[in-house]
Amino acid sequence: MADSLKVRVLVRPKEGILDPQGEAVRGALPALGFGGVKTVHIGRLIEMEVESADEVDAMCRRLLSNPTIEEYEWEVVS
């Protein structure tokens, strides 16, 4: 079996894009007594095992993120 790489992709809303999930959580934290939370942004973590990392960037651009509203970063973790 070919060796595989573990890749971690992080997709999140671009700055300035409304993030209602983040807003809802930001409202809930102080209600639980956690003060001092200024902003909360919620993104998506995608973990993949791939044979090669060559095409990860293309995957991010074509499917894993929507460049109109999201930005992404990725790394090989092991």
């Binding site: 409304l18 209602p20 999930q21 807003e23 499917l63 894993l64 109109t68 509203i69």
Partner: protein, 220 residues
């Protein structure tokens, strides 16, 4: 006139759309997602639902289905295409329409009847209406909040490409936008569901004003 309705795994307004096509006096043709064939139809409706379970983002996976290749070709050649709700999301993901549909501002699924104003009759799907005319159409969505960057919004407004506008915005959409059209004007996406008001037995047939337009607007 033959009007195709795409069927993805998770489409759930496909039968309503096929029924509405029959009601408007055209021949309905189901287009299975895995078949790269539009069966010679004169227009295509991409219906609502939760294609591929809305996983990743609504419409993100449907956009690469087999039927989408010929559909994109058809659209680029000027064929009339209407995306409704999830269909609107699919067409945005496919870059046949600008912008994207974000989660509703209030974080709740909205299921209601809303008033929308027809903003342009210069599309095949509104050619039978009147500018300024108000219609009451059902909405049912969680990600209906239309977003485009400021430059794109300005261009849409300048080029008369806002097709429908909410009288009272139910989801936070930029500029109260309920529907837009492509640069070529033949591809239209709307969040409200005209097919769900296509028969007096459903309480109204106002949606036929949109759907029937294509009989005039496509010039077939």
């Amino acid at each position: 006139m033959r009007i195709g309705v795409t069927v993805f795994p998770g489409s759930n307004c496909d039968r309503d759309a096929l029924y509405a096509v029959e009601r408007m006096g055209a021949e309905p043709v189901g287009l299975w997602h895995a078949e790269a064939d539009l069966k010679g139809v004169d227009a295509v409706i991409v219906p609502g639902g939760f294609s591929y379970g809305d996983y990743l983002r609504p419409g993100a996976i449907a956009r690469f289905a087999g039927v989408m290749g010929p559909l994109e070709e058809f659209a680029n050649e000027g064929g009339p295409v209407l995306g409704v709700c999830n269909g609107f999301q699919v067409l945005c993901e496919a870059h046949l329409l600008p912008g994207a549909l974000l989660q509703n501002t209030h974080m709740r699924f909205v299921c209601d009847r809303v008033r929308v104003r027809v903003e342009t009759t210069g599309t095949p799907w509104t050619a039978g209406g009147e500018v300024g005319e108000e219609l009451t159409l059902p909405v049912a969505h969680n990600e209906g909040n239309y977003f485009a960057d400021a430059e794109t919004l300005a261009r849409l407004e300048d080029e008369d490409r806002v097709v429908l506008r909410y009288v009272e915005n139910p989801n936070g959409s930029a500029n109260d936008i309920a529907g837009v059209c492509s640069e070529g004007r033949n591809v239209v996406g709307v969040m409200p569901h005209p097919e769900r008001v296509s028969d007096p037995a459903l309480g109204s047939d106002e949606g036929l004003k949109i759907l029937r337009s294509v009989l005039v607007g496509a010039g077939v």
